[in-house]
């Protein structure tokens, strides 16, 4: 799957429009991912996001902490995507370090990138329905797919 000139232009325009909201959207996309695809929470045992867990119920601070961590992680993901947008002509080089991290340390099963990508699309669709035309939607889907491919490229 190759990103056309139109795709790159659509992604840059959309991401530019998001501006300072990127971190907020990253966090929301993560929250949506954990909500719709609970298996994704297995990668974040240290966040303790389990719904209705005694800890969560009894300790409001713990909930706040978990959410703070999720928000921080959402910002991290968003920052990485911003970098990717700036280097769409050579994603493998630009994302090499993250690629190594996912392959050798995190080892997130590839299926999960699809879940997060989908929730990123849903988040953007919610916040920018007018800009989220079918063509822009297609370009973003391709872009997230390309990023996911690079992040899993060194898995084996």
């Amino acid at each position: 799957m190759v990103l056309s000139a139109a795709d790159k232009s659509n992604v840059k325009a959309c991401w530019g429009k998001i501006g300072s909201h990127a971190g907020e959207y990253g966090a929301e996309a993560l929250e949506r991912t954990f909500c719709s695809f609970p298996t994704t929470k297995t990668y974040f045992p240290h966040f303790d996001l389990s719904h209705g867990s005694a800890q969560v119920k009894a300790h409001g601070q713990k909930v706040a902490d978990a959410l703070t961590q999720a928000v921080a992680h959402g910002q991290k993901v968003a920052d990485a995507l911003t970098q990717a947008v700036a280097h769409m002509d050579d994603l493998p080089t630009a994302m090499s370090a993250l690629s190594d991290l996912h392959a050798y340390k995190l080892r997130v099963d590839p299926v999960n990138f699809k879940f997060l990508s989908h929730c990123l699309l849903v988040t953007l669709a919610c916040h920018h329905p007018a800009e989220f035309t079918p063509a822009v939607h297609a370009s973003l889907d391709k872009f997230f797919s390309a990023v996911s491919t690079v992040l899993t490229s060194k898995y084996r």
Binding site: E28, E31, R32, C35, S36, F37, H118, C119, L121, V122, A125, C126, H127, P129, F132, T133, P134, A135, H137, A138, D141
Partner: protein, 147 residues
């Protein structure tokens, strides 16, 4: 059998009541054909599908989208009995239309995304989760009779 909680059912039913099936159906199918162009393979007789505007404006796409989403409305009415509700359609999609069930997942995700564009803030993570569950369950029900 998939179990939906009372909250999940409420989330689905209340949002569905506000859905313009004709409009949303057309958008859902249109986006499927734009975002995943290989799905056009099932619609050779639909005429002009050569561009985003051609697809989104195509009257056959709109009509078929309405048909598909109307059928989906049946799922909302029978959330506890999806396999039986879609048994006949499952056989039809396998034997007559030869549709890879993977496409049901793709369409399900398009429904989610179009709902998101229409309902914005109302489409909370919890509402989305209920709808993800429903579209996944419908996809499974439609694939259930494949052989």
């Amino acid at each position: 059998m998939v179990h939906f909680t009372a909250e999940e059912k409420a989330a689905v039913v209340s949002l569905w009541a506000k859905v313009n099936v004709e409009l949303v159906g057309g958008e859902v199918l249109g986006r499927l054909l734009v975002v995943y162009p290989w799905t056009q393979r099932f619609f050779d007789n639909f005429g002009n599908l050569s561009s985003e505007s051609a697809i989104m404006g195509n009257p056959k796409v709109k009509a078929h989208g309405k048909k598909v989403l109307t059928s989906f409305g049946n799922a909302v009415k029978h959330m506890d009995d999806l396999k039986d509700t879609f048994a006949e359609l499952s056989e039809l999609h396998c034997d007559k239309m030869h549709v890879d069930p993977e496409n049901f997942k793709l369409l399900g995700n398009m429904i989610l995304i179009v709902l998101a564009t229409h309902f914005s803030k109302e489409f909370t993570p919890q509402v989305q989760a209920a709808w993800q569950k429903l579209t996944a369950a419908v996809a499974n029900a439609l694939a259930h009779r494949y052989h």
